[in-house]
Symmetry: C2
Subunit: 393 residues, 2 copies
């Protein structure tokens, strides 16, 4: 296998090496990988053949310090010793929901809002295939300095979601994140911690025992290779994956302009369900929640589990219709087809022009991919456009 969707060893290794060279989400690198494949992109970067001067300088500086191929090899060996695997888009278990990041455009400047492209690869410690783990999943995130109130509400939500077989996804921090994970674990449910550092150095250290439990019964996951440090900006880079991978995000408590508020911005832009638990207006830990409610009409007040299930329920049913087996029609989809599929409206029809605009592809490409998707039974043609097939396969 070769080309952009290749799942061979060279592709996997190159993706890991690229993550060693630049932070995940980088727009230019992701575009090159889509066009020419990871291996060719790595070659090109190492030759310094890249338009953006800042990126070129950064890549060459890193490459001068350590050979990225050798670094990747060491990381893969280290991962193997940890019982970890690297998942790439060509793998059947790749969580395709993160592909929605391919077309995400955010307002506001800064790298963190520009470089929001899908992960190149995912490091995973888990007995679960990722696609199954995320099929029915809700992010529950919030303040590190949670109050008793926030902890109480998070505990109820995490436990209840897990009981109803929803995967709880969070970031592993103290406060709301850890409470959500622990509640899901105590209900015997599935929980996913998406880290902003290597999966071999869980951060914060205080949650180490919890991370081990999550790796055992749930999913411990990161875009960064083993050994990567939990740098401040990585949490903001990571947040796009939490938003994209799940059917919706609930914020229980958040201070003004906190990381959770930033995650919610991505949730809204990705058209996932955006949910906020209100709190006392006298609490600094609810200021972020109330600000979100005031600024974004898309954000819904949820006061408990029934409201959250209301929001994600329909999506859940839709996702639940997708067969879980390994041998699915869209497992082998090329990236363009996946983008077209991702651009399809959940309900109703779309025309190729709309899809092209949303997927960031040419109309001709969209038309070609639609024929393919139709043959695969994933979309159907209607008199007024194309629609998602209700029960794929």
């Amino acid at each position: 296998m070769s080309g952009p969707a290749g799942g061979d060893g060279a592709d996997r290794m190159a993706r890991v090496a690229l993550t060693c060279l630049a932070e995940p989400g980088n727009r230019a690198i992701w575009q090159l990988v889509q066009a020419d494949g990871a291996d060719a992109t790595l070659e090109r970067l190492l030759r310094g053949d890249i338009g953006e001067p800042a990126l070129r300088a950064a890549v060459l500086a890193r490459a001068a310090a350590v050979d990225p191929r050798r670094q990747a090899e060491a990381a893969l060996q280290r991962g193997e010793r940890l019982g970890a695997r690297v998942v790439v888009p060509a793998d059947p278990e790749w969580p395709t929901t993160v592909n929605a990041l391919a077309t995400l455009e955010l307002e506001g400047g800064g790298r963190v809002n520009r470089d929001v492209r899908p992960p190149l690869c995912l490091w995973v410690r888990s007995g679960w295939p990722l696609d199954q783990a995320f099929a029915r999943s809700v992010a529950v995130v919030g303040a590190r300095a949670a109050t008793n109130y926030g902890t109480h509400v998070t505990n109820d939500l995490g436990f209840g979601l897990a009981e109803r077989e929803w995967t709880v996804v969070s970031g592993g921090a103290f406060g709301i994140d850890a409470t959500a994970h622990r509640a899901a674990l105590s209900a015997g449910g599935l929980t996913v911690a998406i880290l902003a550092c290597g999966i071999d150095r869980p951060y914060p250290m205080g949650n180490t025992a919890m991370f081990e439990q999550i790796a055992d019964s749930g999913v411990l996951m990161s875009e960064w290779p083993p050994g990567a440090e939990p740098l401040r900006h990585r949490f903001l880079i990571r947040n796009r994956v939490i938003a994209a991978a799940t059917a919706g995000t609930v914020i229980v408590e958040a201070a003004a302009r906190s990381g959770a508020v930033q995650t919610m911005g991505r949730t809204i832009a990705l058209n996932r369900r955006a949910m906020v638990v209100p709190g006392p207006v006298t609490s600094a830990m609810s200021v972020g929640c109330h600000e979100l409610l005031r600024k974004h009409p898309e954000v819904t007040v949820v006061t408990g589990l029934p409201h959250v299930l209301d929001e994600v329920g329909k999506i859940g049913e839709y996702l639940a219709e997708v067969p879980r087996g390994r041998d699915r029609p869209h497992d082998g989809l090329d990236e363009e087809s996946a983008l077209v599929l991702e651009a399809m409206p959940r309900r109703g029809t779309a025309d190729p022009q709309e899809l092209a605009a949303k997927a960031g592809l040419g109309v001709r490409t969209v038309l070609r991919r639609l024929s393919l998707l139709e043959m695969a039974g994933l979309v159907v043609r209607r008199s007024n456009g194309v629609a998602l097939a209700r029960s794929p396969r």
Copy 2:
């Protein structure tokens, strides 16, 4: 003076008598009064000349027990002894914002949602002209069984609004209502208690001293004549006036399906600013607030005074432009002209057909009234319709 807009003694007396015969807001009676005047309507009701059998029976039963004219006369004498006055639509001080009830249509059956027409008259104990008292006013309402949290937030809001010369309007009940009044009083501000019983028998009794203070420095007001009892359904009838008279309503705490939630339904339907203070999802006293936020996109989260001022600010500026003096062009407006004026959009233009539909009048009537309003300098003709004159007078 005579006719529908007559402000003579007969009109005033007839309006009081009509309130003794049927509950305020009655749609059929209000329509008759608009068409033929209060005196002729009273005559007609006493003859039993009314289409609705249930209303005819009720009116005749009440009239058989006590002569409504004699009852009205007694009420007026009693009012005089209390230092109260009766304000009718023809009076310069009539708060014209309540005229918006003329066209209010609510979903859901039942008398309380059907009989929401403007008051026929208002009993008042106050040194303030009503129009001045309501010119910059915000309703702050909520649960009787308020928590410490609700009381704390209400106190801040009531005090702050009063400090900024906004009138605080509420219902006089224990809990949020009384806290709002007391906070406004303690800031030396103006507060209005709109009662659901006679102004001589303040309810609840426990707030008697507060009501006396309100009558002294603010406004004690009711649609019902002195002696009227605080019957349960009267609170729901009264709520429409709280919603209509003010620029907006803030609910601080409310249980599910409470009176405050009902008031907010009217606030929304009247296109006034609808504001809710969120609270802990674990508090039964915030359930109504959160339900409103979930059900009505028109409802805004407010977490303190700045948010409330944001919401009502623009309306306040507009209202503040209305000259405060006694001798204003639209003081002497007949009801039809007032309806047309009320139907005018705050910004932009409207055409006579739209105004007719909104005011519930014929197009010819609207055209006649528009000429009058134009002469009075209250509206201006533009190429694409008529608009409110920016600075009346």
